[in-house]
Amino acid sequence: MYGKKGSELVKELASSEPGQLSAFNNDLFSQVIEECTGHLLHLGPLIRKIEELKKVEERRKINKQELEESDKMALKANNSGALIHHLSLLRNKRCLMAYVYNRAEIIQSLGWTLERVLPEEIEEKLSSSEKEYFKNHGATLQSYMSELDIDLAVDMVPPKDPYIKVRVLDDIGNVVLSDQSANLARHAILFLRRTDAEQYISQGLMEELTS
């Protein structure tokens, strides 16, 4: 059935959790693209036939004659045939675009929280064009921030206290923070400036301890 695969693609998108990416469905995606090409192959000859019949009709009009009954039927049949293929193509295009565009929106939101590092388990779910898009879009965001000289990727939640208690999850080593230099060894529990800690938290190297 025409358009069934396209709707499957969109359904897959709709059933995945909001904000989460599932693996790019290459198989289904290329099948829908193939279906589009198929529609075009049908559409071409139909349009040519319609045009031929239209010409015949015009020639006959000059002679004040109508089309023959069989030609009239053929014109109608070709018209509806072409319409069906055209509409199926449009629908497939909408499905494909919805699939790619909505995934791109999720990728955009990832750009806010992950900066430029994509964890492996997400990266393997993306298509090659999506990986490129993530990189490009990240660079676009970075260039805006550097032009304004302000880092927008920190401070995602309203601040309550300038300092927060964090546990270090991985050996980060000695780093210079904005107000102190600290040895961030694994399992250490420290009080850090929230803005300092945030970048590590978003990379999964630290967790905030809430009492």
Binding site: I33, C36, T37, L40, H86, L89, L90, K93, R94, L96, M97, V100, Y101, A104, E105, Q108, W112, S127, S129, E130, E132, Y133, N136, H137, T140, L141, S143, Y144, E147, L148, I150, D151, L152, V154, D155, P158, P159, D161, P162, D179, R194, T195
Partner: protein
Amino acid sequence: MESGAGERSSQYSEMDDYESLISTTDAELLKRAWQNEKAAPQILRFEAALVQRSREQIQLMEETVEEYTRNGSDPLTVSLYQMDLDRTLFLLRSYLRTRLQKIEKYMFHIQKTTELWNRLSRPEQKFMGRCIEDMEQHLDQSVLSKLPSSYKSHLKQSSSSEEDDMVPEPQLDTYVICRSNRFLGAFQLDDSGEETVNIEADDLYALPYKSIKPLVETGQIDLV
């Protein structure tokens, strides 16, 4: 800090001095701009002067905090200053962030609507230009280049569509919660003129964004 207060203070003459002072500090103005931007479905005018002043303010505060730490002042005072600084920084960042996210979401719509395009700051316009390039390239690589020639546009479904019918647009008839700080009188909700609402000072209303749009844009009403 009161540099933005000049033109506004005349409107609040009936309020007592203290309240008018509070409501026109840049911190308060920034909070209002941020709230409006957060709640409005559409992108609003960029508060260029306000952002500029806030950034100067932030820099000043950073210097103060540094100086206090160096002089070994009372840690409590320093941490209070730091807290204030953090809050202002958060407001500013979140304000800019919200705008960028709206641009990301509605880039094609803003691109073809001059009125909206003019509301962006220069860096934002540049950002959007690049966003569009990135997105077009991505859509083209993934889908459009593989489709037949008359179906290649990312704005139209096919070349037979007369208007751009594939551009995501903000929903303007969504309801927003709003409050005015003064009496605005009877206000018409739609063109038919049948429904009017009496907008009283400091009352909360849930109205469709579309109908109060001009009030939001002229700053007569605030979104919450």
